[in-house]
């Protein structure tokens, strides 16, 4: 690991002031410290922000909730109100990594975790995300874990987070503190980026901006929910494909719905066409199947990941069926 200076603080302004373009904020460290060991990340300074006071979970006037960026994933997923009103988020967060890692990892850090593309980790290989203009090793290489939607010739990596897939289904806004002292809110859909010609940029955060809160949309998808995560072993692995599904039923028809996929794109992949199709329809398997066809119709797989198309369809149907039957 390359040497760095360490700045620990419990004061937000101190943290922002300490920031330089070669610094990194450090929260749980479960991804960043590993990447530093691999020489993928080589900051000159780490600014420890986990002890800043952004660790609450609070209810807003309109019934929605705000979760602190420095709260651990484990504490968030097990918070009573999150379990009751955002069970989809809770379930997705609990599917990620392991108990040890969820105790360390924070909500803000989860938003910013980097791809697990093996070419990104292996510094002897080309990777435009790690080293711009060095090429993409995965494009014509081993690409069984890679994207089937929204990629470019520069990068076909996927976003690894489970939490973000649930957030995309539920709807969320990320609040960040700017270096000049102001703050701004970014819709989750605009937070992560598609790779385009700048795959080195995972998100639309400006340098030095610090995530402080995640504002969740009103809890309107808590009656029927499921997070289905398909992986190479039954626990402690990243998703090959995952599906977050939440909906409400009124008069035997779907009245509200949120659907998103993980493991298929450079960002959480919201299934807008499938959502629109299912609104007002009966929650039955044939409708779920049609929605899954719609969701996957524009998939463009590579040689190694063709399996993701049928797997994705099946996972969507399974998630919707599981959500429909929950609690019965």
């Amino acid at each position: 690991m390359r040497p760095f200076t360490y700045t620990g603080t419990t004061n937000r302004n101190e943290a922002l002031k300490a920031f330089t373009t070669t610094s990194h904020y450090l929260s749980g460290g479960t991804n960043l410290v590993d990447l530093m060991k691999e020489h993928v990340e080589q900051p000159d300074q780490l600014i420890h922000v986990k002890n800043l006071q952004y660790n609450g979970i609070s209810k807003n006037k309109d019934g929605s909730y705000t979760i602190g960026a420095m709260r651990s994933n484990a504490d968030t997923a097990n918070h009573k109100d999150i379990r009751l009103y955002y069970p989809l988020l809770s379930m997705a967060m609990l599917s990620a990594a392991t108990a040890q890692i969820r105790n360390m990892a924070t909500n803000g850090g989860n938003l910013l975790q980097r791809t697990r593309c093996p070419y990104f980790f292996e510094t002897s290989m080309p990777c435009n995300k790690r080293e711009p203009e060095s090429g993409c090793g995965a494009l014509n290489g081993v690409n069984d874990q890679h994207a089937i939607f929204g990629y470019s010739d520069n990068c076909i990596a996927t976003h690894p987070s489970d939490m973000c897939v649930a957030l995309a289904a539920i709807g969320a806004t990320v609040e960040v503190q700017k270096v000049d002292g102001g703050s701004r809110k970014i819709d989750l859909e605009d937070f992560h980026r598609l790779p385009g010609d700048k795959p080195e940029k995972d998100s639309n955060l400006e340098p030095g901006e610090l995530i402080t809160h995640i504002h969740l949309a009103k809890p309107e998808l808590s009656n029927h929910y499921a997070y289905v995560k398909i992986r190479e072993r039954s626990s402690y692995a990243f998703a090959l494909v995952s599906v977050a599904a939440g909906f409400q039923i009124e008069d035997e028809k779907i009245s509200k719905i949120g659907l998103a996929m993980g493991g298929v794109a450079h960002k959480p992949w919201k299934l807008i066409e499938a959502e629109e199709f299912l609104l007002g329809k009966k929650p039955i398997e044939s409708n779920f199947g049609k929605a899954a066809e719609l969701a996957m119709k524009d998939a463009k797989p590579f040689e190694g990941n063709r399996y993701k198309v049928p797997m994705g369809k099946n996972a969507i149907v399974r998630a919707l069926m599981q959500a429909n039957n929950i609690g019965e």
């Binding site: 690991m1 040497p3 760095f4 200076t5 360490y6 620990g8 450090l26 460290g29 479960t30 410290v33 590993d34 060991k37 691999e38 780490l46 420890h48 986990k50 651990s72 484990a74 997923a77 097990n78 009573k80 379990r83 009751l84 069970p87 809770s90 379930m91 609990l94 599917s95 990594a97 392991t98 108990a99 040890q100 890692i101 105790n103 360390m104 808590s222 995560k229 039954s234 626990s235 402690y236 929950i326 609690g327």
Partner: protein, 204 residues
């Protein structure tokens, strides 16, 4: 060694950290890159905590920090100011093993033993998580909230999945955990296949 570094202060990236480990106050002067794992093993002669992968993929380095199980390999020692750390060395009371240590011995919850300190720290923390009513990915419905959970075998396996055992002692680890968790020391629920089952499982 530490005194010399303090005096000369030649490391531009040196940090100082004071924390409690196994109920003892310790103060260290370290290179900022030092993980909690290396601080324990290389600076405090606490070699019980093991370095498996050093990348957060195996769980051998699991310790209990402020009551929660964490990976010491991905924790920078610098971030542990004021922390209360419990390692495998701190579980026994004098000559009396922690019940989880005793159960691992009784049920043969290991073969080579390298993952065992991490397995046991993880299992001890899980006892508390079950008491607190924490959910897991295999919990049937996270909206059902209660305390003092009695974990099924499926739940135990999911919740201990962060500790890899390459000898494959999982069945016995689960039995050891069950004994302490729910006083269930019956034989495992799995059985060897019968001759008939073996025959019918063969490819035709």
């Amino acid at each position: 060694m530490n005194e010399k570094i303090k005096k000369n202060s030649f490391l531009t990236n040196q940090i100082q950290v004071s924390l409690k480990i196994n109920a003892k106050n310790r103060s260290l002067t370290l290179d900022s890159r030092t993980s909690l794992l290396d601080a324990l093993r290389e600076h405090l002669e606490l070699n019980g905590t093991k370095k498996g992968c050093d990348h957060g993929q195996c769980g051998a380095c699991t310790v209990i920090m402020n009551g929660k199980r964490q990976l010491s390999c991905l924790t920078l020692a610098a971030t542990c100011e004021g922390a209360n750390v419990l390692t495998i060395e701190g579980l026994a009371k004098k000559d009396k093993m922690h019940p989880m240590q005793g159960a691992f011995v009784k049920h043969d919850g290991f073969q080579c033993g390298y993952c065992t300190p991490g397995q046991i720290c993880s299992a001890v923390a899980l006892l508390q998580e079950a008491k607190d009513g924490d959910a897991s990915y295999v919990t049937a419905d996270v909206r059902n909230i209660s305390k003092e959970l009695k974990l099924s075998e499926e739940e135990i396996r999911e919740r201990l999945s962060g500790n890899i055992c390459r000898c494959g002692a999982y069945n016995n680890i689960v039995q050891a955990f069950k004994e302490v968790h729910s006083a269930d020391d019956e034989m495992p629920t799995w059985k060897f296949a019968t001759k008939m089952q073996m025959k019918s499982a063969k490819r035709k």
